[in-house]
C-alpha cells in the first residue's frame, strides 16, 4: 500500500512536472547556439517562466517520493515501475500540450508501455 501510494505520487508528479517544464521551454524558444554564454542566457530566460517553477515543484515532489521509495525497494524495480509515466505523459502531451502523435509514435509508446509492464511485473 505504501509502495503503491508513493509510486502514484512519483508517476503523476513526474508527468505533470515535465509537461509544465515542456510548456515553459516552448515559451522560451529554440536554443540555436550551444556556446556557454548562450546556455547561461537560456537558463536566465527559463528561470523567469512561472510554468518552469511549477514543473520543478512537481518534479521535486516526485523526486523526494522516489528517494523514499528507493530506500525500501530495488532500483531495478522502482525505475522501471515509474515508467508508467510514459503512458500518462503521452496522454498529457496530446491533451494538454496539443502535440500531434502519429500512429508510429503511438506504436512506439505502446511497445514501451508493454515493456514497462513486463519489467514491473517480473
Amino acid at each position: 500500500m505504501q509502495t503503491a501510494l508513493f509510486l502514484s505520487i512519483v508517476v503523476l508528479g513526474n508527468t505533470f512536472g515535465e509537461v509544465a517544464v515542456s510548456h515553459a521551454m516552448k515559451e522560451v524558444g529554440e536554443v540555436r547556439s550551444f556556446a556557454f554564454r548562450s546556455l547561461l542566457d537560456f537558463l536566465r530566460r527559463a528561470f523567469r517562466e512561472k510554468w518552469f517553477w511549477l514543473g520543478i515543484g512537481l518534479l521535486a515532489l516526485s523526486f523526494f517520493s522516489q528517494l523514499a521509495l528507493l530506500s525500501w525497494e530495488d532500483v531495478s524495480f522502482v525505475i522501471p515501475a515509474t515508467a508508467l509515466s510514459y503512458v500518462t505523459g503521452a496522454l498529457a502531451a496530446k491533451w494538454l500540450l496539443g502535440e500531434h502523435l502519429s500512429p508510429r509514435r503511438w506504436a512506439g509508446i505502446l511497445f514501451v508501455s508493454v515493456g514497462v509492464a513486463l519489467v514491473s511485473l517480473s
Partner: protein, 141 residues
Amino acid sequence: MTSATTARQRQWKTYALLVPIVFFSSAGNVLLGKGMRQIGDVRDWRLAELGALLVKTFTNGWVWLGIGSLLLFLVSFMVVLTWADYSFVMPASATSYALVTVMSHWALGEVVRPQRWAGVVLICLGVAFVARTPSSSRGGK
C-alpha cells in the same frame, strides 16, 4: 534555409541531446539508489526521525553525485524541449531503462530476471519506433 533542412537539423540535435539525457538520468538514479541503500529503510515517520534521515541523506556522497547527474540531465532535458515534442523526448529517453537495468545489475549487484530483460528489449523496440518519427511537430519560435 529550407524547412526540410531545419527539420533534419532539429532531428539530429534531438538525437545528440538524448545521449546526455539518457546517460545522466541513468547514472543519477543508480547513484541515488546506492546512496539510499547505505542509509537504510524509511519505516519511522516521526518528525525527529525524518530530520535525522534528511541529514543522513544529504551528507551521503553518492546522493550528491546522483543529484549532480540529475541536474545535468535536467538542463539537457530543458534545452531539447525548446524545440522537440515532449511526446518524442519522453519515450525516446526510455533507453535509460536498459542502462539502469544493466548498471544496477553490474554496479549494485541486483538480480535481474529474464522477464525484466525481455521488458527492456521491448522498451528498446518502442524507442526505435519513436525515434523514427519527426522530433518536432511544430515550427517553433
